[in-house]
């Protein structure tokens, strides 16, 4: 039988260390909504989302009350819209109309984000996919809850550099269109290499074509819990440290698994995966950077940061995998800048640079995430940063992503504040040297060789 100390431990994690379930994300296939008539497509999409997701928020709230564990977000991911809209969308306006339908449906069912205004163009873009990408800036300006992502590379296909070039321009245009709000539109746009089909985390969530009709994916959190747990291992060797992280990750993930199974049962929708990510928030004590500092760094960014992060990421996976029947999504530590108190502090102190963040993305999930950069950064420079990150993903057979925010009208030394979970942070300096000729070449970077790994 459960004893009082176990109960106190669990409740302390929730009350003092910010343990929560970050998101229940309902993936919905919209493949059956396609038609040649755009009005019909919009109607089909709206009806399918409303019918499938009508109980999502109330079920989430019920689970939250029964277990007294906060479930921070309830969200929806849908089939990449480039596939659903391919036969009906002849203009940018057509794609914008679908985005507005998604926004309306999201508001109707009460979710705070809907992901999947996406295109998968790792080898090439169809005309329709190009149209979708071109519509992204206006979509992110004219809707509130729609999130967009574009997969521009995979380990098997290489990187579509035409898409990388275009997306540098699209990021900048999105920033320009939302400049009155610190270019917040860019916080809803992720550019991927090796994007997973079952990612529950925004802004990069979409419901991949390998998925069934509807699925429940759950993203857990808990950096604060890990930090607290390893305080007890201060001064001990790596064996003790790693065991502590694994045990904690196991406990956190079990809660995610429980919530996922309950949601699946109550909604009558199959359970997909638990995403084992350590997802920070701007709240004090909910930071991945602080875990790295507890491991022994004076400040995140110091020599040793990449090794500490690699170890942390691996132990979280080792502990989490056993705790869940199915693991997927991004599964790893997130290192966003503006959403993590410790990262923000490190940037302000001059300890953390974009180049170090890039190195860190080689050993953990996602990539250059939520980084405000000067608004006068050139489109080709943004494309160059995207290309670098995509190359890391492609060569290392892992997911990488870019979510940069060129803040129009602001430069290094100034700060931005996006509010809420998106956080705030200083504008980070970007290398000033040009990569124009590299980006302007066009074409594809071929798929890498899969042997002779060095």
């Amino acid at each position: 039988m459960i004893n009082i100390h176990e109960v106190i431990e669990t409740n302390n994690m929730i009350e003092q260390d910010n343990l929560d379930v970050r998101t229940i994300t309902l993936g919905i296939s919209l493949l059956d909504c396609a038609s040649t008539d755009i009005n019909e497509v919009n109607e089909n999409i709206y009806n399918k989302i409303i019918n499938t997701a009508k109980n999502l928020v109330s079920v989430g709230d019920r689970i939250e009350k029964e277990y007294a564990i906060p479930i921070v977000n309830k969200r929806i991911s849908v089939t990449p819209i480039s596939l659903v809209g391919a036969s009906s969308c002849k203009t940018i306006e057509d794609y914008i109309s679908i985005a507005k339908t998604l926004d309306k449906a999201a508001k109707e069912v009460g979710v705070n984000f809907i992901g999947g205004f996406s295109a998968l163009v790792s080898k090439g873009m169809t005309n329709s996919e190009r149209l979708l990408i071109q519509s992204i800036p206006r979509v992110l300006k004219e809707t509130d809850r729609v999130c967009s992502s574009v997969n521009v590379g995979t380990t098997k296909t290489g990187i579509d550099m035409n898409a990388v070039k275009l997306l540098g321009e699209i990021v900048l245009e999105t920033a320009e269109l939302t400049k009155e709000r610190d270019s917040i539109g860019c916080t809803k746009l992720v550019i991927f290499c090796n994007a997973p089909d079952d990612n529950p985390f925004m802004a990069g969530a979409f419901h991949g074509v390998t998925e069934g009709d509807a699925i429940i994916n759950v993203g857990i959190s808990g950096p604060g819990v890990v930090k607290k747990a390893i305080e007890s291992a201060r001064g001990k060797d790596f064996e003790v440290l790693c065991e502590t992280i694994k045990k904690t990750a196991f406990k956190i993930t079990r809660v995610g698994q429980l919530v996922a199974q309950e949601a699946s049962k109550l909604l009558g929708i199959p359970f997909g995966i638990v995403d084992l990510s350590l997802a920070p928030t701007p709240a004090i004590g909910d930071s991945v950077a602080e875990i790295l500092e507890e491991i022994g760094l004076e400040c995140v960014g110091a020599p040793g940061t990449t090794a500490a992060l690699a170890m942390l990421n691996d132990q979280v996976k080792k502990g989490g995998v056993m705790a869940s029947s199915y693991v997927g999504g991004l599964s790893g530590a997130f290192i966003p800048v503006s959403e993590d108190q410790g990262m923000i502090k490190a940037v302000k102190m001059g300890a953390l640079t974009i180049e170090k963040l890039e190195a860190m993305t080689c050993v953990c999930s996602v990539g250059l995430d939520m980084i405000p950069i000067p608004g006068d950064t050139k489109a080709t420079t943004i494309s160059g940063m995207i290309a670098d990150e995509m190359a890391i993903g492609m060569i290392n057979n892992k997911t990488t992503a870019v979510r940069l925010i060129p803040v129009i009208g602001k430069t290094v030394g100034e700060e931005v504040n996006f509010g809420g979970l998106l956080g705030y942070g200083p504008i980070m300096p970007v290398n000033k040297f040009s990569c124009d000729a590299f980006i302007n070449r066009g074409g594809r970077i071929p798929a890498p060789i899969h042997s002779f790994k060095n």
């Binding site: 459960i2 004893n3 009082i4 669990t10 409740n11 029964e66 007294a68 079990r254 429980l258």
Partner: protein
């Protein structure tokens, strides 16, 4: 049988257990186990109860315990046992 865990945390005073137990009896909730400890000077009590015969849902119980806790000056939490079982048992 799905068990429910009730935790009471706060400054120790006369009658906490009695008031909580009275509420449970009134709502047809059977106590299976009680344990208590003092952590950092605070009174911590845990009850394992069977609320299956109660007409109230766990959400209703939680909101009524909120009020009761407020009146006694302690914090009362109601949770399904599963969250602890999953976290601490393989």
């Amino acid at each position: 049988m799905k068990k429910t865990i009730i935790t009471v945390v706060g400054k120790d005073s006369v009658g906490i257990i009695s008031k909580v137990c009275t509420y449970l009896a009134e709502n047809n909730i059977n106590i299976l186990d009680i344990s208590q400890t003092i952590v950092q000077g605070y009174f911590n009590m845990m009850m394992i109860v069977d609320s299956n015969e109660s007409s109230k849902s766990i959400e209703e119980l939680a909101s009524e315990f909120d009020k009761l806790g407020e009146s006694i000056g302690v914090y009362i939490k109601v949770q399904h046992e599963d969250i602890f079982d999953r976290m601490h048992r393989i």
